[in-house]
């Protein structure tokens, strides 16, 4: 393909990524499984089956109202209600780092994010930003406390049974994360030229990257981690917010109960003939239906999710038909209950927004870049959400500042001078979910690296000269100084996620004025795949 055509395609991709938010602002009606919140796959194994599913007046009032709203086909009017808001809380965090750093050989992010993983995160990413040689990096991140609890057979998300038990409180280890990255790519070849620090001769070599090797390891500690719902800071902030807003919350909670009672109490206080019975009486419409529905669900053999789902749907529809005879205006009451629910969560959303407070993370890492001397990097990462809107994270601004030094002094010129300083870095990135459920997130970022010392390449013994040249390389290998200067990278990416799965796929493109070892513009594509095990634990399928 012609280079110009490639450039056009690349710029078209950048333009597309930058304009996608314009299309993402209007949220399409959400079509979801009306029984999703009954969590049938889990509850068919519950010791309380089938009551856990059928006795919705106790176990899931709003889930049943959700189901009725679905059967009334008025769902689109209620997209902004709690179900979506809560999904946004769980899925909308854009502050958690999954992959490798911008200085690695394979990354999808210009800046490192401040968030710490809950248990274990794995990411596979392709495409370098500042490195000359592209790599495919596999990065594993583990939370120190989460891993300790997991490996020692304890609950990863512990729950205490009384307030005096402190064993479930998060320890400082909850803010500590360890990371390791490995190059899993096939070798990559690139022509590199520069000055040999021993003598000053200009050299060029056809370099082939190492393959399947350790790339970097780091430790990260969240100094300020208010976005952790278990953190004392978040809880204190929430309690302060509650004390300031409890009057409005109590009114919203009371309105919600009143609206629900309009639907639930009558079927619990009348029999099938419309005669009044004692609340909760065994002859009430609800109790008679409950016994029958339980009997039907117990008769589903084998007890599969699909079979139970079909039976439950039939039973719920039977009850709704009976409720319609009790309430000629059932639809109005359901809509009123849904509206009360929306108001309740409009009030509570302010508390959830407290989770968007600033974060500060300190990171130290040991890096082993391909064909270059080893480095140690220290970095401060700051995250801040500048605007509050709903419970979905409206966007997070991330700032990085750091320095890298060689593990031992390296040549910095051809005059015999050496230095341990390699570079200073600064990165800025903005992540913004572009739909109410944060199924896609737009990221725009910039990375700047001032090379205190020129880039240094280790030419291995036996390296080949570039084709078409007559340069003779030292047989035992040599070092090569590239040109010093500033590396600037701009990046745009889109991260797609499968809700409640912990799976995210970042796809992006970057432009840089040069790479560590070569001058000249570079446009590169980046793609990754990450999995966060913590999201699975939050679904309630713990241990």
């Amino acid at each position: 393909m012609q280079p110009n055509i490639v450039r056009i395609i690349q710029f078209a991709c950048i333009a597309l990524l930058l304009t996608v938010p314009l299309f993402g602002q209007s949220t399409a009606p959400i079509q979801t499984d009306p029984l999703a919140r009954f969590d049938i796959p889990t509850n068919i194994s519950s010791p309380d089956f089938p009551n856990v599913l059928t006795n919705f007046a106790v176990n899931g009032r709003q889930q049943f109202i959700d189901y009725m709203v679905d059967t009334m086909n008025t769902r689109a009017a209620f997209n902004a209600t709690f179900r979506n808001l809560l999904q946004s809380v769980e899925n909308g965090r854009v502050d958690e780092q999954a992959g490798a750093s911008a200085t690695s050989g394979g990354t999808a992010s210009a800046a490192e994010k401040a968030g710490i993983s809950g248990l274990l995160t794995a990411a596979l990413e392709s495409g370098a930003m500042t490195q000359t040689l592209d790599q495919n990096l596999f990065t594993v991140r583990g939370n120190a406390e989460g891993l300790f609890r997991f490996l020692s057979g304890q609950d990863v998300l512990p729950v205490c049974f009384n307030t005096t038990d402190t064993s479930c409180d998060p320890s400082p280890l909850n803010n500590l994360e360890f990371t390791a990255s490995f190059d899993v790519s096939k070798s990559n070849t690139q022509t590199v030229s520069g000055q040999n620090p021993s003598g000053g001769a200009t050299l060029a070599a056809l370099l082939t990257s190492d393959k399947r090797q350790f790339s970097s390891a780091s430790a990260r500690f969240a100094i300020i981690n208010s976005r952790d719902l278990r953190s004392k800071r978040y809880r204190d902030a929430w309690n302060t917010w509650f004390s300031q807003n409890h009057t409005a919350l109590m009114q919203a909670g009371s309105d919600l109960l009143a609206a629900e009672d309009q639907i639930f109490l009558k079927m619990q206080s009348e029999d099938a003939n419309g005669r009044a019975v004692t609340l909760g009486d065994s002859q009430s419409v609800y109790q008679v239906w409950l016994r029958n529905a339980n009997s039907v669900l117990l008769g589903v053999i084998p007890r599969t999710a699909a079979g139970v789902r079909l039976a439950l749907t039939q039973q719920l529809d039977l009850l709704i038909a009976q409720m319609r005879s009790l309430h000629p205006d059932l639809d109005d009451k359901v809509l009123a209950a849904r509206s009360a629910y929306s108001r309740y969560y409009a009030n509570t959303s302010g508390g959830f927004e407290l989770g968007n407070q600033p974060m500060l993370t300190l990171q130290g890492s040991y890096q082993k870049p391909s064909l270059q001397p080893d480095l140690v990097n220290a970095k401060l990462v700051f995250a801040w959400s500048p605007k509050k809107k709903g419970t979905a994270n409206p966007g997070t601004l991330t700032l990085n500042g750091g320095v890298s030094i060689y593990t031992r002094a390296q040549p910095k010129d051809a005059n015999g001078n050496t230095s341990r300083w390699h570079d200073a870095q600064f990165a800025v990135q903005f992540d913004r979910p572009i739909d109410s459920k944060a199924l896609s997130t737009l990221t725009i970022g910039g990375y700047f690296q001032y090379q205190i010392s020129p880039g240094l390449v280790n030419i291995p013994a036996g390296a080949m000269s570039p084709p078409g040249t007559t340069i003779t390389l030292p047989p035992n290998g040599a070092q090569l100084l590239s040109k010093s200067g500033t590396i600037a990278v701009v990046q745009a990416s889109m991260t797609l996620q499968i809700p409640n799965s912990g799976i995210r796929v970042p796809i992006g493109i970057s432009w840089s004025n040069r790479t560590e070892l070569l001058t000249g513009n570079e446009i590169r594509g980046h793609i990754g795949f990450s999995f966060d095990s913590h999201s699975i634990l939050l679904l309630g399928k713990e241990k």
Binding site: V58, D66, N239, L257, Y344
Partner: protein
């Protein structure tokens, strides 16, 4: 002031950890005065509204609901708020003297079993 609510024999016991567990049907003497409240590890979960048989029950400054058991069946409906939808919290009876047994556990997350509201049934004996 002793405990007034008793779960019928054979009722499920509340157990620590998810999912929410415990009985939702209780017995109590007619006219018994009962106080219930929410308790949590995080200290952020509060009972913010309650009604008995559709009649609003006032909460005190500590977000506790006190009501008198009516003859026959009683349905106590409750609304809660908290900082973490996944946290398993406890619905307890205040029996006085620092004694507050757990009636059942619950969570705000609207996945069965869970949600911002729930109910318990109290049969007057």
């Amino acid at each position: 002031m002793g405990c007034k609510l008793t779960a019928p024999p054979g009722s499920p016991k509340p157990t620590p950890g998810p999912p929410p567990s415990g009985p939702n049907v209780f017995n109590a003497a007619k006219d018994a005065e009962i106080t219930v409240f929410a308790d949590s590890d995080s200290g952020t979960v509060h009972l913010i509204a309650a009604d008995l048989n559709g009649v609003k029950v006032s909460l005190d400054v500590n977000f506790r609901a006190t009501f008198k058991v009516s003859p026959g069946g009683n349905i106590l409906s409750m609304t809660f708020v908290g900082s973490d939808p996944d946290e398993i919290f406890r619905i307890e009876e205040d029996c006085g003297g620092g004694n507050s047994p757990i009636l059942r556990t619950w969570r705000l997350k609207p996945v069965v079993p869970g949600g911002p509201t729930t109910q318990i049934t109290i049969h007057a004996t």
